[in-house]
C-alpha cells in the first residue's frame, strides 16, 4: 500500500556498533588480554543490571510520557521486599546447590516484582493520575513520592542497613586463564537479556504500544474511540515499577547491603543511561547502559580520576553527536 516516492524510515544501525567498537578499541590500551576480558565481561554484566533498573523508567516515559523521579524508590522497595523471602529462607541459600539457590532467588524476584507492581499501581492512582501530560508537576510530585517511600522503608524495615548475602553457589568467580568472571554477573546477563527481548517483542509486535502512545498524545480522543485508556496506563506503570523492583533485587544482591537510599543513589546513573539511549527508547537504553558500564570500567582501570566524570563525559559526547540521544522517540515534548 505504501507509496514508492515516500521512503519508509531507514533502519538506523550506527548505535549498534558503539559497544563492540569501544571494547575493541580498548584492547590495545589495556594491553593484557585477561585483564581486558575481565573488565569487559564485568562491564557488560554491570550494564545489564543498570539496564534492568533503567528499563522501567524508559518504558514509562516512552509510552506514557511520565518522567518518574520516584523510580529509585521502587528499586529500593524491590530489594527490601526480596529480603522478606531471602532472609527467612536463609537456610536454603546456604545449601551449596545451584538449583536450590536459583529457585529461592527466582521466588524472591517474583515476590519483589509483585510488591513493586502493586505499589506502582497505587502510586499511579494516587500520585501520577492527576498530572498526566504535565512534566513539571510529574517531576515534583514523583520526587515527593520518592521521599515518602524512602521514609516508609525506614519505618517498616528500620534505618539500619540490612545485609543481604549472596547465595553460596553464586559467590566467587569462574576463571579463564587469568581472567576472572564473577558467577553472579552471569546471572545478571541472562536476566538482562530476557527482560530486553520480552520488552522489545511486546512493544513492537502488539497494538498495545500504539494505543498507549496515542493515549499519551491525546487521551481524550482515544477514549472517544472507545478505549479505556486509564486501565492501560495503570497497567503499564505497574509493569514499569515491577521492572524497577526486579532491578532492585539484582542490584541489592550485588551490593549485599541495603539502605533506604540505595534507589536514589543510582538514580543519576539511571537517568544518564536513559538520556543517552534517547528518552523512551528501550533499545537505546540497553545500548546506553552497556556503554556506560564499559566506559566506567575502562576509565577506572586506565585513569581512575577520570572515572568520576566519565558518565557525564559520555553523555555529553553522545548528545553532541545526537542531541536527542541514540534513538529519539517521536517529536513529543520537542
Amino acid at each position: 500500500m505504501s507509496n514508492p516516492d515516500l521512503p519508509s524510515k531507514p533502519r538506523d544501525l550506527a548505535p549498534l556498533f558503539l559497544v563492540p567498537v569501544l571494547a575493541l578499541a580498548m584492547l590495545p590500551l589495556i594491553g593484557s588480554f585477561p585483564t581486558w576480558l575481565t573488565l569487559t565481561v564485568a562491564g557488560l554484566a554491570m550494564g545489564m543490571m543498570i539496564f534492568i533498573m533503567a528499563s522501567g523508567l524508559t518504558l514509562v516515559f516512552g509510552l506514557m510520557d511520565v518522567l518518574n523521579f520516584g523510580h529509585g524508590a521502587f528499586v529500593a522497595v524491590g530489594a527490601y521486599a526480596a529480603t522478606m523471602v531471602l532472609l527467612p529462607m536463609k537456610g536454603w541459600l546456604e545449601i551449596d546447590s545451584l538449583w536450590m539457590n536459583l529457585g529461592v532467588l527466582g521466588l524472591a524476584l517474583i515476590f519483589a516484582m509483585l510488591v513493586t507492581a502493586v505499589l506502582g499501581w497505587a502510586f499511579e492512582r494516587l500520585i501520577i493520575m492527576p498530572v498526566y501530560g504535565q512534566h513539571l508537576k510529574q517531576i515534583l510530585i514523583t520526587m515527593g513520592g520518592m521521599i515518602v517511600a524512602e521514609q516508609i522503608i525506614g519505618v517498616i524495615w528500620g534505618a539500619e542497613q540490612i545485609p543481604l548475602p549472596l547465595p553460596e553457589s553464586l559467590r566467587g568467580a569462574i576463571f579463564i586463564g587469568d581472567a576472572a568472571i564473577e558467577k553472579y554477573r552471569l546471572i545478571a546477563v541472562v536476566v538482562g537479556i530476557i527482560v530486553f527481548l520480552s520488552m522489545f517483542l511486546i512493544l513492537n509486535r502488539t497494538k498495545l504500544g500504539l494505543l498507549i502512545r496515542a493515549g499519551v498524545e491525546n487521551g481524550e480522543m482515544v477514549e472517544a474511540l472507545g478505549y479505556r485508556i486509564r486501565r492501560l496506563f495503570v497497567a503499564v506503570f505497574a509493569a514499569g515499577s515491577a521492572l524497577a523492583g526486579l532491578g532492585g533485587v539484582m542490584w541489592g544482591l550485588y551490593k549485599e547491603t541495603l539502605t533506604a537510599a540505595m534507589g536514589s543513589e543510582v538514580m543519576v546513573m539511571v537517568f544518564i543511561v536513559v538520556i543517552i539511549g534517547g528518552l523512551g527508547s528501550v533499545g537505546g537504553c540497553f545500548i546506553g547502559a552497556l556503554l556506560m558500564a564499559l566506559v566506567t570500567n575502562y576509565a577506572g582501570f586506565l585513569a581512575p580520576k577520570f572515572a568520576l566524570v566519565s558518565n557525564i563525559a559520555l553523555m555529553m559526547a553522545i548528545l553532541l553527536w545526537r542531541p536527542a540521544g541514540l534513538y529519539a522517540i517521536g517529536r513529543r515534548g520537542a
Partner: protein, 372 residues
Amino acid sequence: QEIKIALIAGKTGALEPYAKETETGFMMGLEYLTAGKMEVNGKKIKVIIKDDQSKPDMGRALLAEAYGDDKVDIAVGTTSSGSALAMLPVAEEYKKILIVEPAVADAITGDKWNRYIFRTSRNSMQDALAAASTIKAGGSIAFLSQDNAFGRDAIKAAKEALTMAGSKAKVVHEEFSAQNTTDFTAPAQRIFDALKNKPEPRILQIVWAGPSPMNKLADLKPERFGINLAPGGNILPVMKLWKSYAGTQGTIYYYYDFPKNKMNDWLVAEHTKRFKAPPDFFTAGGFAAASAVYTALNKAKSTNTEKLITAMEGMEFDTPKGKMNFRKEDHQALQTMYHFKIKKDQKNEWDILELVREIPVSDIPVPVKNKR
C-alpha cells in the same frame, strides 16, 4: 537544679544507623553507671538529644543552641567528622566542654583542636597504628580506600604508622576509588597487577567507611596471586557478609566478644536482651563517652568548665573496652584495639570474629599533633 548534657548525632541522613547505635550506647552507659537513677553528685542528669543530620552547619547551630539556649554543661558528639570539625570553634566561643564521639578525623585532636575538646572515639591514626602493628614482618602492601578527605587521611596515617611501628613492609600501591564506586573490578585489576610478583607476603589493606568492598575483592580470589586481604573492622551488619572468607585477618575498634570486663558483660547481656542483637562498634563508643562524662562530673564535683578540664586531663575511666585515659597533651583517649580473624565455624549469625591478639596501648604510640 539538674545537670544538662547534650548528645548531638547524625540521627537522620546517611549516618543514621551509626548515630542510633551511639545514642543507645550513651543512654545505656549512663543507666549502668548511675545504676538506673540518672543522678550524679546528687543532681539529676538531663540528656538533650539533637540531630545534626550530619550537616556541619546544623551541627554548629545545634551546639551553639545547646550551650547558649539550653545551657547544657557538657556536649557530646558527633557522628560525622565534618560536622565535628565545624563544632570545635563553637565550644571555644562558649568556653564549654565538647566530648567528640565517634568522629575519627585526626585534625580534631590535631591542628583544629582547642582546649575544650576531648575525644573518646579512636582517631584514624590509632586505627592505622593498630593495623600496622599486625604487619611487623617485611613484604609488600597495597592500600585501597575511598577517594575523599577521610580516605586520603587514613592512608597517610597508615603509611606513617607503618614506619612508626618499624615494619619492614614496602608500600607498592595506593588505590583511591570514588566513594560511590559500585564496581570494583577495575580497582582490583590495578591492585593485583601492582602486587603480583612483588616480594611475599603480599597484603592488600582495605580502609573503607560504610559498606566495605572487601567481599567484592575476595570474590576475585586474590590468593591466585598470593595476596591476603586485611580489612579494617566494620559494623556487624557489614561483617556478617564476610562469613565465607574465614581466615582473613584485620584490626577492629570493638567487637562485643573480645573485651572481658563486667561493664562489657552487662552491656552485651542487656543489649542482647533488649534489641535481640549484641552491641556494636558505635554502641560501645557511646557507652565510653557516657562513662567519660560521668567520671568527670564525679571527679570534678562541679560543672564548672575549668574544674572539669583539670579533672579530665589525664583522667582514667572504665569503658566496655576496658580502661581509657585522656592524655594531657591533646585530650585523645588512649585505648586498646583488637587484631581479629574471621571464624571458620560460626555458632550463630552474630558469631563472626575470633580474637588473635588484644593490641595494648603501648603498641599504639599515637603522635601528638596539636599545638597548645
